[in-house]
Symmetry: C2
Subunit: 194 residues, 2 copies
Amino acid sequence: MKEKPYHHGNLRNKLIETGIELINEVGLRDFSLRKVAAKCNVSHAAPYSHFKDKDDLISVMRDHVTQQFIEKLHNAIVGLEDNPTALLLLGQAYIDFFIEHPQYFQFIFYSSGISIDLDKESPDDYPPFALFRETAYRCFRRMGLKEEAYSMHLIGKWSMVHGVAALLTNSGISYSGNWHSVFANTFVQKGENL
Amino acid sequence: MKEKPYHHGNLRNKLIETGIELINEVGLRDFSLRKVAAKCNVSHAAPYSHFKDKDDLISVMRDHVTQQFIEKLHNAIVGLEDNPTALLLLGQAYIDFFIEHPQYFQFIFYSSGISIDLDKESPDDYPPFALFRETAYRCFRRMGLKEEAYSMHLIGKWSMVHGVAALLTNSGISYSGNWHSVFANTFVQKGENL
DNA sequence: AAAACAATCTTGACACTGTAAATATAGGAT
DNA sequence: ATCCTATATTTACAGTGTCAAGATTGTTTT
């Protein structure tokens, strides 16, 4: 599975890394295949030896970023998987990830290809959401919520987390306060003991 | 303020209308100035007599769509501005608007130029948000919430509304259940009497 | 070792995009 | 009738994604 250099190096990996750098620099809007190729000192059509088209490269780039995303989420709750506080920490890590990388929200959610079924688990669910769901369900069970209401509560929680991330990382929306405290206060509903 | 036809009609308005049609058909990603010009039976550079550049046209188009947005929000709460239920209805209308026009979320929030200050009111706040804030504050007062906490509650409410809209109208995220009931159940927190 | 192969990269081309400059057209004012 | 100005067209150029033909080079086969 690991490519060795051919006569010009291991271009495939370099394209992915450089592409992610470019996303961080200029965002999805100004991302271009030819810029990535140029940054790799390679001709403009070279990427077509490794990727079907632009969307294909973007899709693989997104898989890599998603992996970093998952690791950050995991680290936020490692050790306390059964603790109801995990859900709050997970939400904060979710938001922090997009604050640290302002271009990633658009990149991940607006370049087509994500699949999430909010109803039932499915193997091709977006992995960070799957993790969020599993954690939430564990917390809900620990909190003694009715099992029929799990799905509903999950959607409520994730909507809010996702909404905060969307608001904070998109065009011109600003807030100078402390997000963590605001989020913690509104994320946890009265009566819930997270 | 109303332009009369010159020697080829009132192109400015036609470009705006046709541009909005094109957004609904192909989305922001495949929107192009030349397509709009072609749909108006006009040369590809004609739009430059009325708009500085592509972003300028998009910005004016967005102002028009925002106007429709505001009207829908207003209609949802007309008559019951002082009723705490208004906030819930406003949130549902907000979400419905983007469900009815799946391309508008990206169009409005990802084409740069929106300005929202979550802290303090400012005259150039995005008008739908200003309406949301005013309605929320009225409801909060009616509900007897502490005034210092208004801002925090506002952010919590709007994040969730915005998050649901973002989840539902973006790439591949689906839910087959009834959003209105799920939303109503999670939007209103325990102890709040909306 | 020489020849054949296949993976990789370059070159060149095409259609499409945004945008600017030069030109043409025609309504309104003088 | 003449000029002025707003509007629209034409032409041009750089940047984009993508494809086809050819060149390069490591690997395999003989």
